[in-house]
Amino acid sequence: MVDPLSFLTPPKSAVAETLRQEIRAFLEDELAHRSPLERAHSWNGADPQFSRRLGARGWIGMTWPKRYGGAERSALERYVVIEELLAAGAPVAAHWIADRQSGPTLLRFGTQRQCLDILPRVARGECYFCIGMSEPDVGSDLAAVKTRAVHAEGGYRVSGTKLWTTNGHLAHYMILLARTDAAAAERHAGLSQFVIDLSTPGISIKPIYVPSGEHHFNEVIFDDVFVPADTLLGTEGDGWQQVMSELALERSGPERFLSSFTLFAELVRVCGSQPSERAALAIGRLASHLIILRRMSRSVAGIRHCRRQWSRMPVQSSNRKSRRLRVASSVRAVHPAATHTMRPCWPTPSCMLPPSRCGVALGRFFAASSRAAWDCAKGEYSDRFGIIRSG
């Protein structure tokens, strides 16, 4: 039984390290004139031309099958590429979501036709995606989606509003989560995903500006938009499992702790080669957090590399499953994901991190129904605490 708090040693890969030198040379060339302020945008900086040049080198959709435009390279090699891109502050925003989650979601749930039509363009850095999950009334409580997709002749009619749509104004497609069955007994049922072409009539995209004046977010309004039946992604009614699977791809990656890397590098530069003791301490503490987070993240990449835990599997366990499966799936679902959303921060006076969706999920995991997982993990305490040792 795997200890849910331990991370396997990240595998070493000589091929990946050779690739690291290759991408470093590429980026030195590409980003030579990119100022620290521009680099600090990290994966919020969009540059379609850069995305195309990256795609031309085969560095988008790296792990995908070649028949879909991928390079069939390992998750470790992909990891090296994305962490180098992020650390250098490369303008990857345009293709980031498509590469990270939309493409893999299509691979997992899409038809061959959808994959053939879309994935090669994504891999070339020409086709961009945005995420259609959050709504004005739907943030953490994703099951409360109100956007409706009702059956119509030859397809569906979609009405509703999606919010906080990162780069919706640049994207060609959205993977939309909508309610297809309003009468479903249980709130996680009756949801479906669609691959929506954003040039479809009836869709309007309005910008939302952040305090700095930058435009990443959007409001995307669907006004009775007709979408053909072949825009359905996966199985109608399976939207919850599919979206949970998609969300898992958003976790554990290096962007979760490298977004501020340029700032860290600038801090080190500004502090100079003979920093004050306080500055040295601050740098060392930040570095230690970064190093440990990177190790955990690379460990998850190593797991993906071994293709052990991330194949088609429903993330939410149901009561019908056997206890052992429920334990195994809840451990897989929650453990790497939840622990990786922690980001380095200065401790607040009460030493508490701000609440997060995943933090509470992990807490519920520990505190509520996953007794079996804990029984296994703490088998050695069975004598003392009188808990039955699990198989």
């Binding site: 708090l5 331990s6 991370f7 040693t9 690291r20 962490e83 890397f261 590098a265 600038e266 801090l267 080190v268 530069r269 502090c271 100079g272 080669s273 003979q274 920093p275 003791e277 500055a279 040295a280 301490l281 601050a282 740098i283 060392g284 503490r285 570095a287 230690s288 970064l290 190093i291 440990i292 990177r294 190790r295 955990m296 460990s299 939840a338 622990t339 922690m342 401790p347 030493c351 508490m352 991190l353 609440p355 995943c358 933090g359 509470v360 992990l362 807490g363 519920r364 520990f366 505190a367 509520a368 007794r371 993990a377 703490k378 050695e380 305490y381 004598d383 003392r384 605490f385 808990i387």
Partner: protein, 354 residues
């Protein structure tokens, strides 16, 4: 890792855990009330640990051990069970002795963190100086570094060759002041390879404490989770409250990070005792120790603040161990200085090389 290697680790973990549950302080309330005694540990329990071969655990298999990595994993389990013996120090000291070609010891050993002073005297050597906060210094043989004319040496002193003034850390573990002024016979001193500097012992110790913190941190988390599931207030288990779940989640993230940090330190220890990974690990493990201990006491409340409850045996160790063999500030400053000297433009290269 081959599955055979994993099987061996699992077997070691299972059998060592059973032994440590019996001899550790977490499970057996009676043990917690046993006075330290002259040695600072229970001789009967120590005998069983010796008989299990654990004092040589860090040595390579051909020398009777299970390898350095497994040895550190044993240290982690010792931490998880609040094992009240100088086992971790003895394992590390025996590893050092074997590494320089000296005879490993049958009896309990400890370490001096910083190098002592060495002089030539007659045809032999004389060791002098002081070491403070030596774990179980009062009853152990001691392994220390000392430099003489630009060469570093490892010295093995027997119990009785040096004076000790007893002391304790916040967990009540013996931490003694040792004063040296003794002759060193030629069979007790050996030169240390050029690759090992004056930091060798403190690096080894920092890796040990990181492993122990990881073990204790996880044990504390489990205690807090169990309590939250069983304690009922306002008609339900307190673990049903989101606020408590958030506390547990906070602890869990730090426990996971501490484990990752320990693994990093262990790998570095087994592969040349590189300073930067161990520094980073000790900083992170130390921070995790503080958060885990504080939050656990919040969750377990009043009962967790009694002598009778086992929580303090672990939280006090977390608070103590984070300061031993270099605290967070010391290691963070060391790491930070090195990275600052390399410069901002080189930061990413430096980080990926660690």
């Amino acid at each position: 890792m081959t599955s055979q290697a994993e099987d061996i680790d699992a077997i070691i973990e299972a059998s060592v855990t059973r032994l440590f549950i019996r001899h550790g302080l977490v499970h057996d309330r009676a043990r917690r009330n046993v006075p330290l005694g002259e040695a600072g540990y229970d001789p009967g329990g120590w005998k069983e640990i010796q008989e299990a071969g654990l004092t040589f655990a860090m040595l390579e298999e051909r020398h009777g051990g299970v390898g350095m990595k497994n040895g550190f994993n044993i240290a982690r389990l010792a931490g998880a069970n609040a094992l009240p013996f100088p086992l971790c120090e003895t394992m590390a000291a025996n590893w050092l002795l074997a590494a320089v070609g000296l005879e490993p010891s049958d009896s309990a050993l400890t370490l001096a963190e910083q190098p002592l002073q060495l002089q030539r005297a007659g045809g032999g050597w004389r060791l002098s100086g002081e070491a403070c906060d030596v774990p179980w210094g009062r009853s152990c043989g001691l392994v220390a570094l000392a430099a003489y004319e630009a060469q570093m040496y490892l010295i093995h002193c027997s119990h009785g060759q040096f004076a000790t003034i007893p002391g304790i850390n916040a967990a009540g573990e013996p931490r003694d002041l040792c004063k040296f002024d003794c002759a060193v016979t030629l069979d007790r001193i050996a030169p240390v390879p050029r690759s090992c500097g004056p930091q060798t012992v403190v690096l080894l110790g920092a890796a040990l404490r990181s492993a122990q913190i990881a073990g204790a941190g996880r044990a504390v988390l489990i205690m807090a989770v169990d309590y939250a599931r069983e304690r009922r207030q306002f008609g339900r288990a307190i673990g049903g409250f989101q606020a408590v779940q958030q506390l547990l989640a906070t602890m869990a993230t730090h426990a996971a990070a501490a484990r990752a940090a320990a693994d990093l330190a262990i790998e570095s220890a087994a592969d040349g005792l590189s300073e930067r990974p161990i520094a980073a690990a000790k900083v992170r493990a130390g921070e995790a120790a503080g958060v885990i201990a504080a939050v656990a006491h919040q969750v377990v409340g009043a009962i967790g603040f009694t002598r009778e409850h086992p929580l303090h045996t672990l939280t006090h160790r977390l608070w103590s161990w984070r300061d031993e063999f270099g605290g967070e500030s010391a290691w963070a400053t060391t790491l930070g200085r090195q990275l600052a000297e390399a410069g901002g433009a080189a930061l990413w290269s430096e980080i990926t090389a660690i």
